[in-house]
Assembly symmetry: C2
Homo-oligomer: 571 residues x 2
């Protein structure tokens, strides 16, 4: 929701004051909006506008190569005719004015009245209305303007900057609008400053197909699709509404986020859209995947295509420099497809070295141990995330699952390839670190690798003391990397008692199985002690000065694992 | 919440695929991340990175003048050492590598291991850790890295692009980090792909002061302040942690949005922060108010200052060109403070012309009428917004209130200045249109102005037929501008019966008072008929082909007003 405001009724004016302060090196505030500082010879003034709440539309699009001025209305409300007139007068450079805006009744009337007033004063004024929203009406001229504002304004702004006359700018604007089609979807509503409820709702688990950027009705609500399915809907719908006489299959593209549908989601969606457009024979030109025409904190996105001819492409590709949008031919970048491609950093022998029967037997045990760990971790993934979220970022469950899955995949293959225990543990540890990432990934990976390194694959037999050495190496790797000591509320709190108990039991002649079981009980108790301290980690506490490992969740996951392994050792 | 994904576990890889497709003209994907295509002579490689979910950090910062490569981890999870190594190897241009990242245990370990591996291969590798978050620890070197990543990376990227050696890039990076301080606040949590609940919560109506970008604990939760108070907290806290030996009071500034705290809110907040910094004697240099280091769809923001010396300022101001950030010296823009400032477009005589006693008396009645309308509209503001939200953008209530308040302010002054009814109505209408904007603003403003124009201020008496003529002019202005006819579900549905009834009653010799009362009953009934059609406008219906006026909410507001005026005519 919208949370930062003073007097809600003054939100539009208040935010404009900050905006003008910020960009006062390149534009100036005038009554009703903003005007670019002159950046070249006199040109046709391209004045855009509409309500606030759509940044970078509209004030963020003022600058060289784009709009000459922007009229700023209240949130989601057309600016008055007086404001339009004021901005146009201030922006006029003696070569005429184009007023351009999305097709809404209020904007049409207010900009229309302002145009009349300007013409009465002898200023040649044209109007270009944007009608790109294919969901809003069947007849093209009755459609609303949404993210297609951007392509139309961009083409006119670029054309005006080249010095062409008013007729040309108007003609190109109309051509851009005729070539532009958008379909939007909404996932959630937006909240007006000072309001306690969203302006509108989309049913949970649904999207509003074709819903407008102020919550106006769409075509229908649909169950929320996957990203891949949404890509199909957007591409198919927009292509079905292609202009009758499109000049080419070259298309300018905007994948626009409405506010809370974030960049990574848009990139992911683009990875599904791009192949569909290409399969349909289209060549994409200067694709913009970004927040271009927002709607406060609304969830959703839209896909815009502008079918290009040579003129439109020239102006679409031209440089621009505005507060909310900067386009620049990439300096000094050349595409050299002969460049050496990066190579995987994990370079280890793909084939296991020769191993003894004892080494292979122990490898089998280790592999079964990893499988047991895997099912335990999958079962408790959520719990680990919850514990971690108290003091950390809640990723511990997912990280552990990713790590163990990778380790199991490697170890299973290793066993069927007759690998020994040393090679299996080293490879499994590398895979764990590689896939899991994060703190726990590097610790578990390095620890498994270290345990593997103290063993070798060619021994005739492995003594209980060899297992203890492996456990000690495991512990040592974690202490070396993490720097934690006992009491820091990390997995070390459980691991040190485990290794101590294992060592002590083996020294008294116990079997590895019974020593391991006893050690796992000790580790579980120690982990519970650490976990008991958890409430003290409440939200109001500053971050632990010594941020090593994943506090307490690491101890918990370790306890889960040794318990699982201890249970296995019964069998 | 995060809604677009395929397999949640593959979110980071999937979004990276779309990103790499999008920017393949300037960077290439390598195992573990992305690397900029070469753009000049060999330079020191500046490798940045961390978990995904922070766009434009980190992949969006790769390009000329900024990072050479970015390592991409899973959501909020450090990339593995193997990924770091892979990206650094691919980015290395023979002049050494700097690895830079925020101070988190997982990143420190994974980047550290990769550095060791690179050094073993003879690649000189340095590490610069960012520690800008003043909320996370008292000791500087124990602090987390948050939005200050950006200033540190930017300085090193700009320096490396000038061709300086590895020692210099490392030295400047450490200097940038030592000069950078950030405080963040969170308003709401973020949702991991595939999760049903946010990763963490901030209590409703509160903010989490100093809460980390992955939800790590902050200093404390506080009741949500106003924007002005939040500006004080941020500025005072960051200034209190200024470096001990700051070179100057020139500061680079980032006001960063975390994901759902949108641009307009940030601009508004900046309008409060800027004067505070200036009052404290600071000069702001190249302020960035934008989404710079996000946290999925988290609500909140942070303020970063970097205290500048000449070196840091040079590199902070230098051009850069990356997918998520483009900085360019403004082309051809000159600041000319002698420019003619825009002037108010509402140019009408500030002083009322001479008026007759009858004109002044009728002006008094009109002014009281406007006051009655004002209280009725304030009372029903919410209801009007709710009706409008069904088919429109829900702004009708607020627009009407803004309009009537402006009209009342003008009319009250006009009365005390002995203005006549014609001038009063014209000026009130202009004020209404000016302040309200939107569709209803232009209609009500023009209608009042038209009604005023058919009256004059110098008559000895006003006949009932004069009032009818005023009402007809009011109606005509609305029909002319909006193009609606009866049945279109606009205010015209109530207004035409009102004027017809008024005219008919007056024609039979009724007093204006009784005719007005009767007409107001007719208008109320007609508006109720229109409102009864409202349910048919449900969410699934495409936008009305003829979008004129504000459907049904306009009729309702008109009925409210004429009812209010009818009630007044009793007195």
């Amino acid at each position: 929701m919208t949370r930062l405001f003073g007097d809600p009724a003054e939100f539009a004016e208040d935010q404009l004051a900050g905006f003008v302060d910020l960009y006062r090196d390149r534009l100036r505030g005038v009554p009703g909006g903003v005007v670019a500082l002159p950046s070249g010879p006199p040109q046709v003034a391209v004045i855009v506008g509409g309500g606030s709440g759509h940044y970078p539309a509209f004030a963020g699009l003022v600058g060289p190569g784009f709009a000459t001025g922007a009229v700023v209305g209240n949130i989601f409300t057309s600016p008055s005719a007086a404001r339009v007139y004021s901005v146009a007068k201030a922006a006029h450079q003696g070569r005429g004015v184009v007023l351009s805006f999305g097709n809404y009744a209020g904007d049409t009337m207010n900009f229309g009245i302002a145009a009349e007033r300007l013409r009465k004063e002898g200023i040649d004024t044209r109007i270009v209305i944007v009608t790109d929203d294919i969901a809003s009406a069947a007849e093209e001229q009755l459609r609303r303007g949404i993210a297609g504002d951007f392509t139309v304004f961009k083409v006119m702004g670029a054309a005006a900057a080249t010095g062409v006359n008013l007729d040309e700018v108007e003609r190109l604007g109309r051509a851009a609008n005729a070539a532009t089609r958008t379909l939007g979807v909404a996932f959630s509503g937006c909240t007006m400053p000072g309001a306690h409820e969203p302006l509108f709702d989309v049913p949970a688990g649904h999207l509003g197909l074709g819903l407008g950027i102020h919550g106006e009705p769409g075509i229908r609500d649909e169950p929320m699709p996957t990203a891949a399915d949404l890509a199909h809907t957007l591409v198919n719908s927009v292509l079905a509404e292609a202009p009758a006489h499109a000049a080419s299959k070259r298309v300018a593209v905007i994948l626009n986020g409405l506010g809370t549908t974030k960049y990574e989601e848009l990139f992911l969606l683009w990875s599904h859209i791009a192949p569909l457009l290409r399969e349909a024979g289209h060549t994409t030109v200067d694709v913009e995947v970004d927040e271009i025409v927002t709607s406060l904190d609304m969830g959703g996105c839209s896909l815009t295509l502008m079918w290009l001819d040579d003129e439109l492409e020239t102006h679409w590709r031209a440089d621009a420099y505005t507060p909310g949008y900067r386009k620049q031919k990439a300096p000094l970048v050349s595409i050299d497809t002969t460049l050496e491609q990066g190579h995987s950093a994990v370079e280890v022998a793909a084939v296991a070295p020769d191993s003894s029967a004892a080494g292979r037997k122990l490898a089998g045990l280790a592999s079964r141990g990893l499988l047991t760990m895997q099912s335990s971790l999958h079962e408790h993934e959520q719990r680990l995330g919850d514990i971690d979220a108290i003091a950390g970022d809640g990723d511990h469950g997912r990280g552990m699952v990713k790590g163990i899955d990778a380790a199991v995949a490697v170890s299973t293959t290793a066993c069927s390839n007759a690998a020994g225990v040393a090679w299996l543990l080293q490879r499994s540890g590398q895979a764990w670190a590689e896939e899991a990432g994060g703190t726990s990934g590097v610790l578990w990976g390095a620890a498994l690798e270290a345990a593997g390194m103290v063993l070798t694959d060619d021994r005739d037999r492995y003594l209980p003391s060899d297992i203890v050495a492996g456990a000690e190496a495991f512990l040592e790797a974690i202490v070396d990397l993490g720097g934690a000591t006992i009491g820091d509320k990390t997995m070390v709190d459980a691991l040190i008692p485990f290794v101590d108990e294992l060592r002590a039991r083996v020294a008294t002649g116990a079997s590895v199985q019974s020593a391991w079981r006893a050690a796992s009980v000790v580790a579980t108790v120690a982990a519970a002690d650490t976990a008991a301290l958890t409430p003290k980690l409440g939200r109001a506490r500053p971050l632990a000065a010594k941020s090593v490992g994943t506090p307490d969740a690491g101890a918990t996951s370790l306890a889960l694992l040794v318990t699982a392994l201890g249970a296995m050792s019964h069998s």
